[in-house]
């Protein structure tokens, strides 16, 4: 594909609702990352997949956050019982190999607003 795509681009959820954010990485990219970016801040690491294996989920802020990549391609970040502090832009990135070894290609992000 042309690049990393994410959907939806914007999501408004009422507090307590569950949301699912989708990421389509660049075809052939082994590694996939999720980040959370608050306004005026840099992206903060959430979790990392190598193919279908979730190798690092240390950045997930609570057990309400769950990510999967069942076939080693598309990934979904799910947030259960959303809270206002979950409002942020959620960025997905993919890279050819390795967490920090190669450049990461970012998607446009999903802006989540919890009301």
């Amino acid at each position: 594909g042309a690049g990393v795509s994410q959907s939806p681009r914007y999501k408004v959820a009422k507090r307590g609702q569950d949301v699912a954010l989708r990421c389509d990485p660049i075809s052939g990219h082994v590694s996939l990352f999720w980040y959370q970016q608050a306004l005026g801040q840099g992206p903060e690491f959430l979790t990392y997949f190598q193919n279908e294996a979730q190798l690092d989920k240390s950045g997930l802020p609570s057990d309400r956050f769950f990510a999967e990549r069942p076939e080693g391609s598309v990934s979904t970040l799910k947030i259960q019982r959303t809270q206002q502090e979950d409002s942020a832009v959620y960025l997905c990135a993919s890279s050819l190999l390795g967490q920090g070894t190669y450049e990461q290609y970012f998607g446009p992000g999903t802006r989540l607003t919890v009301t």
């Binding site: 840099g42 992206p43 967490q99 920090g100 070894t101």
Partner: protein
């Protein structure tokens, strides 16, 4: 845990002036990456530095990695309006990519 700090937080320059942003890590980094994020956009990879004391240039941009591999800088010569955006450094230590908070660059024409 590892922290990456960037200064300044914000810089507003006249077109044609130079610009520098500095990045400091609390721990030694295996490598460092720089990204640019335009207003309303997503981070775009600029460069990666790996070796101690490394200097790399991309046209008007000069990137340096400190001797101790704990700091880095990005210098833009003769800024243009197209340079507007937020510049992030991201340190690689262990298995994580840790981003700084970024420096916002505004350019007055």
């Amino acid at each position: 845990g590892q922290q990456v700090m960037q200064i300044p937080q914000y810089q507003h320059v006249q077109e044609g002036e130079d610009f520098t942003t500095y990045c400091n890590s609390s721990t030694t980094l295996s490598n460092i990456q720089w990204y640019k994020q335009r207003p309303g956009g997503h981070p775009v990879f600029l460069i990666q530095l790996v070796k101690s004391g490394e200097v790399k240039k991309q046209k008007r941009l000069t990137f340096q990695f400190g001797e101790a591999k704990k700091n880095s800088s990005l210098h833009i010569t003769a800024t243009q309006t197209t340079d507007v955006g937020t510049y992030f450094c991201a340190g690689v230590g262990g298995n994580k990519l840790v981003f700084g908070a970024g420096t916002i660059l505004r350019v007055k024409s």
